[in-house]
């Protein structure tokens, strides 16, 4: 028992004593028996980042990144070690670590976290040659990070129930869509879209849109995947998601079986915002050459094709196309926006809270 010291029967104290002892012994034995992949990796190196290991902080998932790192090691001969986490939390950690960081490369889920690190002077400038691989719109203006894959906000619709999907998010506040739109307000991509709307149309217009949208009784889901499932089941008629969720589902279940279809809003509508995942080299890295090689590897055809195939995102390097049936990135009438400005998320969150969405 907790706080049961008064019950001094021998049997009970022996039981708990044995429990405490085994709690200590079992893991020790387990640790001795295991190959020490986890606990050993840091200590065996004998210190921080000795022996030329490239340390990557990745805000993108292990499932996606780990196979790519193997390819990277094979291609460049460098040994890489990856620390996985949430992009924003890793950015905070990198800022806290300052110039004593062990990290050489930051692979972020979105442009915002890279922008924040760049603003604090924690990213080194990338060579123009690497930067020029991708369109100006998908890299930092000051050249200290570069996008490697892109995702587009889209409107998913149930093809039987909806004859013509709306071409703008502004139509979603109309009475005809009352209670019929699914979205995931806590999802970072949705929030980036709202930030995009603020940048494009101003805070007042965005606040009004959020208020009207919320008044139109949208269906709330935890994740984009759930929104798409709801649209496909007909529970929702429209859904605000990223394009690749549909292609993932289509790859698993067959595109022809899906009732849900995608519509890419046009005329620069904020509903068609393109956001990127990107990389930056940490300033003061003692592996800057290897880090630079890794950046170029991520922008080369092998990695770009891998992103396109694995995540169904858009490859951003010039000349690489997706095997998916994606509408070409150039054909998307996306709004023109400086992605570094998506960093101003705070006000967006305050607005979402004000509207009672998160």
């Amino acid at each position: 028992m907790i706080w049961k010291g008064f019950d001094m029967r021998r049997s009970s104290s022996r039981t708990i004593g044995a429990l405490a002892a085994s709690a200590l012994l079992v893991p020790l034995m387990a640790a001795c028996g295991s190959d020490g992949r986890g606990t050993g990796s840091g200590t065996e190196a004998g210190g921080k980042n000795e022996g030329g290991t490239l340390v990557i902080y990745s805000g993108r998932s292990e499932e996606l990144v780990a196979p790519l790192i193997e390819k990277l090691e094979k291609a460049t001969g460098a040994k890489a070690e990856v620390r996985y986490g949430d992009s924003a939390e890793l950015a905070a950690q990198l800022l806290e670590e300052g110039d004593r960081t062990d990290a050489d490369l930051f692979f972020s889920q979105d442009a915002g976290a890279l922008g924040a690190l760049g603003k604090e002077g924690r990213l080194a400038a990338l060579p123009q040659k690497s930067l020029d691989t991708v369109d100006k719109a998908f890299r930092a203006e000051n050249g200290n990070w570069v996008g490697v894959s892109g995702r587009v906000r889209v409107i998913a619709y149930h093809s039987d129930k909806v004859a013509e999907a709306p071409d703008s998010v502004h139509e979603l506040t109309k009475p005809e869509w009352k209670g019929k739109v699914g979205y995931a307000p806590t999802n970072a991509s949705f929030q980036a879209f709202v930030t995009g709307m603020r940048v494009l149309e101003g805070d007042d217009a965005t606040r009004k849109w959020l208020k009207d949208f919320q008044a139109n009784d949208p269906q709330v889901y935890e994740k984009n995947g759930a929104v798409l499932d709801a649209v496909d089941d007909g529970k929702a008629e429209l859904g605000l998601i990223n394009h690749y969720y549909w292609y993932e589902k289509a790859a698993e279940e067959g595109a022809d079986k899906l009732k849900a279809k995608l519509h890419f809003p046009t005329k620069g509508d904020p509903g068609a915002l393109v956001n990127v995942a990107g990389v930056g080299v940490i300033k003061g890295s003692d592996q800057s050459t290897a880090a630079q090689k890794a950046v170029d590897f991520f922008l080369a055809k092998e990695a770009q094709t891998y992103f396109a195939n694995e995540t169904h995102e858009y490859p951003l390097a010039a000349g690489v196309t997706s095997e998916d049936d994606l509408p070409p990135l150039e054909s998307i009438d996306a709004p023109e926006i400086d992605l570094s400005r998506l960093e101003s998320l705070q006000v967006t969150l305050e607005m979402l809270q004000e509207a009672g969405m998160v």
Binding site: K48, E81, D86, K223
Partner: protein
Amino acid sequence: MKSPGTRGHQAPPAPARSDPGPDDAPAPSRPGRAGRRPPLFLLALASAAAALALLPLVYLVVRAVERGPEYAWNVVATDRTLELLARSVGLAAVVVTACLVLGISLAWLTVRTALPGRRAWSVLATLPLAVPSYVAAFAWISARPDLAGFSGAAFALTLVSYPYVYLPVAAALRGIDPAQEEAARALGHGPWSTFRRVTLPQLRPAAAGGGLLVALYVLSDFGAVSIMRYETFTRAIHTSYKASFDRTPAAALSVVLVLMTVLLVAAEARTRGRAGHARTGGGTARPASPAPLGRLKWPALGWCSAVAAAGVAFPAGTLGYWLAVGNSRTWDPRGLLETGGITLLVAALGAALTTCLALPVGVLAARHRGRTAHLLEQAAYAGHAVPGITVGLAMVFLAVRFAYPLYQELPLLVTAYAVLFLPIAVGATRAAVLQSPPVLEDVARSLGRGPLGVLREVTVPLAAPGIAAGAALTFVVCMKELPATLLLRPTGMDTLATRLWTETGTGSYAAAAPYAAVLILIAAVPSYLLGRHRT
């Protein structure tokens, strides 16, 4: 000597056999040693533990005022802060109340009544400890999306944290000498009146101690409130990191949370001060005879079943469903085994360090009451209501500057666990020491044992079961810890909790389910032992 009942603070949270107040006949010896000066080594060790617990505060102050106190003040002094504070306090109040109702009713039913299957029910009542709040919340919201918001957050948090009340109250109920209740009955009080006027007051310190842990848990929880989409202080701190990449507002808000913790701890200490102490009189207390339930048997069984269904069966069933729909591709037995082993290792090390650090603080608080002991004990609570991510960043900040060789190594992670969970072990130690008769220590001293000898040969062995129970509880909470683990683990190392986070992050619940299941199964072992009755 002063009567212990009139002192301002320090009484056991779980007074096993208690005297209700100063009106009783004087006891032959006193549990408190107000007059005795604490041995220097004890004071030094306790101060070291308290200093460690205060480390995050150093970081918070540095970050909060780095742009001038005015900036921090402007962040904090807003209507939004007040609103968030009100939301957090409101949630904590509702959850604590619900936990008290659940914890006390289940403790009474399983300890003092003739409920069929008492032992099984008492184990079931403890098992929700093993369920991480984010798993419980996720299981509930996927079944009932309409629960999102205050009600869902309160519901999920209550279900995972009521054992903090149940365990000490059940221990206290087992310890209470039934003689007083029998006297009350003989004087014409009915069962309810006896419970209210005799039993309940004796449970107050145990319930208050548990309630404090629940309140601090709710204040610092991120998992359940974010899944239930209920904005609280801690969630605002998380979004502040996420949204502005600015650590100053988060630090300033965390300072407010620390101040709230100080208030709560002080309030709890006041509750303790007016309540009873360990039974020290002559004779032997006997266990109470179980009260027959009569017509209430079925409602009582229904109540226990409902709580067990919501707290244990439902999350377990949901996991079972995810396991069933997942295909074999998601199973990785070797990875599971390895991650499970590492989790056991870090949680066991965390529990061991926390318990060692808590020992001097707990002994001091129990045996050498006074301002110093009181302050040291309060200091131990400093890190407990601060969000794990903030404690994690504090350790990052301090380690890269002052302990670089330890950074992203196991010892630092284990130290962070100690900072986060020290109060749990301190409370258990203090109560366990308080409940053993100090007269035995006097005897040891008269036989020539020095302070260290007394501690090693008398105090600790007598309190060992209670201390071990505290260690078991700390072990469970270390296993479930996520935000600080993500920041401080050695690169490449995974615990079950971080693995669970990784898999749910990619949206594959089927792949996450095995890790959640193993986590809950391992955590269930100490929970089971904690809940097992010896009646």
